[in-house]
């Protein structure tokens, strides 16, 4: 019985994903595997095109020996986890005060027009989604946005066009 449970867990995820999660588990005390849940969710989300399915969350729970509900709680609490599909490029635009007073509205309108979607939507071809985010700690470069892991600052509609055109 116990061996079959162990075997199941070992079969979860592909080897790269597993190695990456294990690297995070190793950072915490052995009895606190749960501390790796945020990293694990991010890793499997990235590996799944940017969003989390219930199955994936259940797998993370099994892998970290946590109750599934505790994983769902984490996945719904933090804004960077996505529970429905997003675009290949998730475009996150800051609209908080420093960006707002530096014309974030213009950037948002431009993106909406160009992509034909509003916040929370995905383009039909699945390439882009738009998301409104709170201050990303880059107000000196307002207005700004994040796409994937990259920050883009001091935006104008022309710069936004150039950035989008440069993406695969």
């Amino acid at each position: 019985m116990s061996t079959s449970v162990v075997k199941d867990v070992i079969e979860l995820f592909n080897p790269e994903v597993r190695a990456e999660i294990d690297r995070w588990i190793a950072k915490y005390p052995p009895e606190w595997k749960q501390s790796a849940v945020m990293a694990a969710l991010r890793i499997v989300q990235d590996d799944n095109g940017g969003w989390l399915t219930t199955d994936l969350m259940n797998d993370v729970a099994a892998y970290l020996e946590m109750p599934a509900i505790a994983v769902y709680e984490v996945a719904t609490f933090y804004s960077m986890y996505e529970l429905k599909p997003v675009g290949k490029h998730k475009v996150c635009v800051c609209t908080n005060v420093s960006c707002m007073i530096n014309n974030a509205d213009t950037i948002v309108e431009h993106l909406e027009k160009r992509l034909g979607i509003t916040f929370g939507e995905v383009t039909e071809d699945g390439r882009f989604s738009l998301k409104e985010v709170e201050c990303l700690g880059a107000c000196g470069g307002a207005p700004m946005m994040q796409i994937g892991k990259q920050y883009y600052e001091n935006l104008t509609p022309e710069i936004v066009d150039a950035i989008l055109e440069g993406l695969e």
């Binding site: 950072k27 945020m38 505790a70 709680e73 609490f77 005060v97 420093s98 201050c135 107000c139 000196g140």
Partner: protein, 424 residues
């Protein structure tokens, strides 16, 4: 005098590399402490003498905080760095991590030595991927050089340090929510007491400090607490990183002495954009009550001066607003933020932030009622001091500040269903 403490490598090429940090004397303090086996109490005394106050927002004296840990108590203790940097307007810790990560690492090791902790975590907000990679690289370099791991430089002292990445939640900047988050839970603040010094990460004694506080430590020990204290003014020791943004020409991070006139900081930041008139300043992150521009031009950037004007220095995030801005719109955006980010644990905050946002929003959209300003005062008053963590106060304070200084603008919105700015 600028960039002498946390940003002391900034003028170098690729300043984040170990060799660059060492070329400015980096890790010398750690070596000295480890070889001379400096008594930990001496380190804490020096930090107390420096007048360093927590740079995360609350301004609590760092040395005093460290002295709350009983360093000889058995069991694990932790040093945790708060690099969650989520207070709107704040963007200084990002620069410390990007440009001088080793100084933060050295500061954390020294903090660990002082309180008897052998493990540390740096909690970096999830969006900060580039800073996170820099920090990871610096950790590798430090480990290779023998500054991290077991038996550091043959001293018998061990210290291991890792980063933890957040995933988008302003509330995780609150210290106990941050600890919950490292434990793999929702970031909901804990009741205090017990304070982290007694019951912190994994239930162990923990000190938690802001990135800038910890990165200041190596220089404080190298040059002495008095040196640091003398840079600043009474009750505000040292220099500080100010993140200045808004309607200005040259926004950015400036590390300057505490007590520097605001007018000087504004000048360093290139002055007002398009020659516009300064209308107001949010002097310490979005939860700091707004100060009218004219008044601000007379103030100095230190804890007492800003508190004396009814606001707070907070994280040193300065947002400058020119006369084209409608204060109702600004408050509308800020109230939306606090409502969105409330963790929902306590009723006054969960419900109160919703009320504040809805009422400000209806005033902004021309649906305001005559009784709304009194209602805002009332709701803000009912949140303040009645919640588990300070997010409740952080939501109430900007409302109170706006109504104190710009009440007429809100009244105009209610009376005319439109904006006073540009109404002619």
């Amino acid at each position: 005098m600028a960039n002498e403490v946390c940003l002391r490598t900034l003028d170098l090429e690729r300043p984040w590399l170990l060799e660059q940090y060492q070329s400015r004397g980096g890790y010398e303090m750690l070596k000295k402490v480890l070889t001379e086996k400096t008594p930990p109490d001496e380190i804490i005394e020096e930090v107390k003498k420096s007048g360093l106050r927590g740079r995360g927002g609350a301004g609590f004296p760092t040395g005093l905080k460290w002295s709350f840990i009983s360093r000889n108590a058995p069991g694990q203790k932790f040093v945790v760095c708060n690099s969650d940097e989520g207070e709107p307007g704040t963007f200084k810790d990002r620069d410390i991590i990007r440009y001088n990560p080793h100084q933060l690492i050295e500061g954390m090791i020294l903090a660990g030595y002082a309180i008897g902790a052998t493990r540390g975590y740096n909690y970096i907000r999830g969006e900060f991927w580039e800073p996170y990679e820099r920090f990871e690289h610096a950790l590798e370099e430090a480990r290779e050089a023998g500054y991290l791991g077991e038996n550091l430089l043959g001293s018998g002292f061990d210290f291991e340090l890792h980063s933890h990445l957040g995933a988008g939640a302003y509330i995780c900047g609150e210290e106990t929510a941050l600890l919950e988050s490292i434990e793999g839970k929702k970031g909901q603040p804990r009741y205090k007491p017990p304070f982290p010094a007694h019951f912190g990460l994994y239930g162990c004694p923990t000190i938690i400090n802001n990135t800038e506080s910890l990165a200041s430590i190596p220089m404080i020990l190298e040059k002495g607490g008095e040196w640091f204290s003398d840079i600043g003014v009474k009750n505000s020791g040292g220099s500080k990183l100010f993140s200045i943004s808004g309607n200005i020409n040259n926004p950015g991070v400036f590390e300057i002495p505490m007590g520097t006139p605001f007018s000087k900081l504004l000048e360093m930041a290139g002055g007002m954009k398009d020659g516009r008139k300064i209308k107001a300043v949010i002097p310490g992150g979005s939860s700091a009550p707004v100060i009218p521009g004219d008044q601000m031009m007379e103030l100095t950037m230190d804890y007492d001066a800003i508190a004396g004007a009814g606001s707070m220095l907070g994280s040193g995030a300065v947002v400058v607003l020119d006369d084209t801005n409608c204060m109702v719109k600004v408050l509308d955006r800020m109230s939306y933020f606090y409502h969105e980010e409330s963790c929902g644990q306590c009723t006054p905050c969960r419900e109160g932030t919703g009320w504040l946002y809805r009422v400000v929003h209806r005033i902004e959209t021309g649906q305001g009622r005559q009784e709304d300003l009194d209602l805002l005062d009332d709701v803000a008053g009912k949140i303040s001091g009645k919640t588990i963590c300070a997010l409740g106060d952080a939501a109430a304070m900007p409302v109170q500040g706006m109504l104190r200084h710009f009440r007429d603008e809100f009244q105009y919105h209610i009376d005319h269903k439109r904006c006073m700015v540009g109404a002619g």
